[in-house]
Symmetry: C2
Subunit: 198 residues, 2 copies
Amino acid sequence: MSSEAPCTRDKILQSTLALLEAREVQSVRMGDIAKRSGISRQALYLHFKSRAELLIATTRYVEDIHDVDARLLPSRTARTGLERLDAYIESWGEFLPKIQGIAKALIVMSETDSEAAAAWDDRMQAMRSGCAAAVKALKRDKQLSPQHTVEQATDILWMLMSFQNWQQLTQACGWPPATYGKKLKQMARSILVVDAGG
Amino acid sequence: MSSEAPCTRDKILQSTLALLEAREVQSVRMGDIAKRSGISRQALYLHFKSRAELLIATTRYVEDIHDVDARLLPSRTARTGLERLDAYIESWGEFLPKIQGIAKALIVMSETDSEAAAAWDDRMQAMRSGCAAAVKALKRDKQLSPQHTVEQATDILWMLMSFQNWQQLTQACGWPPATYGKKLKQMARSILVVDAGG
DNA sequence: TCGGTTACTTGACATCGTGTCAATTGACTT
DNA sequence: AAGTCAATTGACACGATGTCAAGTAACCGA
């Protein structure tokens, strides 16, 4: 439970997460995380061998906290392909804001660290599997537009749902979360579904 | 002409560009650029006050070389809204591969340098104007889907045409350039156009 | 031909963040 | 009393950016 005194490792992960949500990624240094965790900078290296490893661990920590699997349940139990598509976009749209900080950090880290790149890629491939499943369900229902192969449709849905697009629409364009969800469903239907009734 | 001996500043810009196209962004250091330009590292600072400024100057240099304005001519002279949309996507799709290196560099630099961020944002806003113009032409032709406001339609087209999406589709998904162009036009029509024939 | 300017060189150095190492402390076991 | 474990302190190497000072070589105009 969170009311118990967390062990040092958990304190570090919590601090990292809090800082990433509060500030610009690059301004979250090992020293800052240590200070906020109430330990020395060197002690961080007793728990994580590098900054990259700490960020990767934080990613897993976030997914644990928010119970990704439970969130995706409605999309897996959907009856029709359309329902599944909508449910998947919906859950993802609710999940994205929660991983914002760590996602940005991991993307930036990916430029210099191949393990970070692999970790982020792994999460994105997991998300892609969900896209592939939704597309497959559409295909099964004969609702997939003949304009695209199954592969292409998956690529397209994956692209639409990318973290960068979410960032651009909600941050740069100022779309509220509800608009993001609604519009993304519209777009996915317009592109992928044969009879795009909304 | 390029057969004349270029001045030092131009040599630097050419070297920067060549290196950014050949290698990972972060591995292009001031020292590398200097070596390739045949001058000392310190001499770089006689021409550009920082790495960020050099990258920004390189961006302008690339746009000069490839004559962006001329490229966009067909989209500006298009008769119908649909023609304009297609022409704009087409030119952008041809232009993107050429700015790949410097674009990635500027995006990475944006994390740490606010001037670089402003420079990239400026280019993206310019691209957005083109999107707005295409959407307006569709609206004029009564071909804009009533699902979206003009503003939203612009946001959507802007998102679809983003550098990150191009990267994801051509690199991660392995789409050939021709497929990228064709599919992007399809997607834009499906989402934005009222009678999405095509 | 002298003097000045311009472009560039060399070498040393400050700064910042990551990551490492060695010696030490303090608490809890057995 | 001895041992172990988590953490501390302080020093330090490394790599990259950016700065500074002194020197050089070519060119240009009076």
